[in-house]
Point group: C3
Chain length 335, copies 3
């Protein structure tokens, strides 16, 4: 495996193999699998779960990792092309990234969306500029529009619970949050649920529609898997018979990059906090998912988050096993 | 071993076994013992020795670790229960701690005393709130009133030097320091020396008496081990025939949480700096112990700290071996 | 090997053996070589390549490392001798360094030049004060006047490319940079090229002559190896027939520690930016070397840095293999 960048790059069989491997590694540790192998971890955006779970994953497979993160931005890293570096920055990303990559057998890279221009972010301009600099295998640890490790972990979490693929109803719901957050998780989650063959409803208020290209990509996945995708602003309709609601806040796409307009739209939507009444017409065992971090009492009520519906800790733990499977395929001797 | 939280939770035989294991691992490395095992290290308070020695310990046993520390407080972590998270913090400890724990086979947690309310700290309110969130084995890396890793290391350090248990005279002395420090080390040290069977004198000025519950716990340990405990404000009396003085500053318990009153009391006590004359009527080979970090010329004179009495570096080094023993028992296949 | 502090401490045969080992470890991994061994990494100055490459090196050899860096300067570390520590700093280097060293089988230390007094820096006063505190083997990760890991990696990089030793022309050139940088890399590089037997030209403007002691040390190495050393301010003369130009900015030695005078001298020298015309009379395949980080458009033009002459990424990658060789000799069972 040369890159783990997008679940869309993998066939259903390939994903099934990754999930099977993840489960096997969870049940049967292989502390010799990646002896002496090194994973470089480059965070241009902050991290908690990804930072910890990748380090743990490499250790469990017998290898190791090192972390370069923005807190360490020692020299100040310049990213603009063609610049005369006579300011504060003493190092350019064009050297820093290949060097960091050169110490590892693979590199994980995180670079969040800039959230100024939708086309720029949709094109993965920044992330691609980074991966173009390297020749080692790489893992997308969250880019502007993708978070494949989260999605693979979420898929495994639903499998672990025996949640149906075909015929399973998956509600991806926008939720209130005081800030305009990236689209990576909703885009990635939508595609994942569609690719898993589920009947997906995207529940979101006006002005928060997901971009056409994201919807198209997910529809293509649904067409292939036998799943389906609908959009709704109607909470009751959306939750009808749902197996799971996956809550996530994201930026207004209507006002992408325009913080004031986004804020104005958003501040009317404080009631988009997932709470027990949302589940009134869902299945009794309807689950609550979220990628974390989550704001209690804002995105979701405490009683839902702390109650039996919530599987957020299992999702987070599965990050480790999903990533172990990816690393095993990418760096193992059979790869 | 499900938890290493307090030496008081272990019988003398169990501690003897840990110390024997620590010595064995010092002399005979076992780099395969914890192959592929992961220790999560969660620091809610700063660290140098603990941070380094736990990482080194896991490596020496063939496993690994990852660190989450306050410098990384990426999203800002909320700790208050029942709060609506519409402020700066984007993550609650109720998710963060279980997730971090879920990536490890065990977790080490450090959370210093809040030093506002003595009952709150004595009850280990904060630390217990954290450990209540997890199901994996855990290690207390210093809580409000305990520092069992330091105490186990200190015990080993005295053993290594052949310092007598029964009949050994141990002086735990308050020392001057410009700030009101936690009670964790004096409380833990007092109990350790008592449990080791030593004759312990707590030497401290008025207003710095250790809380009743701490004294009671240590007296119970002394009763069982054949040791004894007395308190004194008289340096000459206390040091008479001492085998070792363990210096440590701590908050005024009379004015706990009241910085101004503590400061006023404290600023009269600048002469509580351990120096050579303190040892005039001690044993010739009386040792000086301190958990570090220590302020030179404030807590202890340079000539004592740099002289042959000082065993502070050995104490620090033994942190690693003591913790290797704990980790080996907690995570090894025979556990 | 008790210390890796200076290439001058090693015979040519010893260096050849290190380089051979580095190549072997690059081609044939030995993930069992340093099982359970620990490298302490103490950074008193910032780092990117060194931080990452040492961690990766230990992992590849089956051991591990931990990092203490200035960002973590938790308690504030006091370095002045004989001081009463009643200020902000809660820990003295006299405890911190031995303790950090005590957790490792070896320690790497980085402490940049203070750049106030040339004699102080030339005497390696600060670095020696640190290494005097420890008993474990140590590695110089860049001191005031040395950077042996960089030099060993650079030597390997030239070997890898088949660049001639005897008869190879090596130009060490000063370059413009907005700040007065340390002399460690130019001093170390000059000596390395001389020891490799190359014909070295030190190309630098007036006021930036390297100190006599540095020149003498390099000349002694050249005498032994059959190399040669000349100095020049004439770029055309210097580059005539060159196999390689190694660019690096450094402080004015005439105005060492005097930032204003250095700045005044320096600001006339903006044209000391290595660009394609510099290579007009060099060999066609003349290479460009730099230790990184490098300022694009300031120290070197983008077309040179991104062009086929540049081998800066290979130099950085060879840091890892050079250090693996050092660690293998220092900590391996045959050591």
């Amino acid at each position: 495996m040369k890159a783990f960048n997008d679940l869309a790059d993998f066939s259903s069989d390939e994903i099934a193999a990754l999930l099977e491997l993840a489960l096997r590694l969870e049940q049967h540790p292989e502390p010799e699998a990646l002896r002496g192998k090194v994973l470089s971890l480059l965070f241009l955006s902050p991290s908690l779960r990804t930072l910890a779970s990748f380090q743990a994953a490499m250790t469990r497979l017998g290898g190791g990792s090192f972390v370069i993160s923005p807190e360490m931005s020692i020299h100040g890293i310049e990213t603009r092309p063609g610049i005369v570096m006579d300011g504060a920055a003493a190092e350019h990303i064009r050297e820093a990234v290949p060097v960091i990559a050169s110490y590892g057998d693979a590199i994980g890279i995180r670079a969040f969306a800039q959230r100024q221009n939708l086309e720029f972010d949709m094109a993965e301009t920044e992330f691609t500029a980074l991966t173009d600099l390297i020749h080692t295998p790489y893992i997308n640890m969250e880019s502007a529009m993708n978070h494949p490790c989260q999605s693979l972990a979420d898929w495994k979490t639903m499998d672990d619970l025996g949640m149906p693929a075909t015929g399973g109803k998956f509600v991806l719901s926008w939720a209130y949050h005081p800030r305009a957050l990236p689209l990576a998780v909703p885009a990635s989650t939508l595609h994942m649920a569609a690719k898993r063959g589920m009947d997906v409803t995207v529940l979101r208020p006006e002005g928060f529609e997901l971009p056409d290209a994201i919807m198209q990509k997910a529809r293509a996945a649904a067409d292939e898997s036998g799943g389906s995708i609908v959009e709704s602003e109607d909470r009751v309709e959306a939750m009808e018979g749902a197996h799971v609601i996956y809550a996530k806040s994201w930026s207004s796409t209507k006002h992408y990059g325009d913080k004031l307009s986004d804020q104005k739209l958003r501040e009317e939507l404080l009631d988009w906090c997932v709470d027990e009444p949302w589940f009134d017409n869902a299945r009794d065992d309807c689950r609550f998912m979220h990628c974390l971090p989550v704001r209690r009492g804002v995105v979701v009520s405490e009683r839902v988050l702390d109650g039996p519906r919530s599987i957020v800790i299992a999702e987070a733990r599965n990050r480790m096993f999903a990533q172990m499977a990816v690393l095993h395929q990418m760096l193992g001797t059979q790869s």
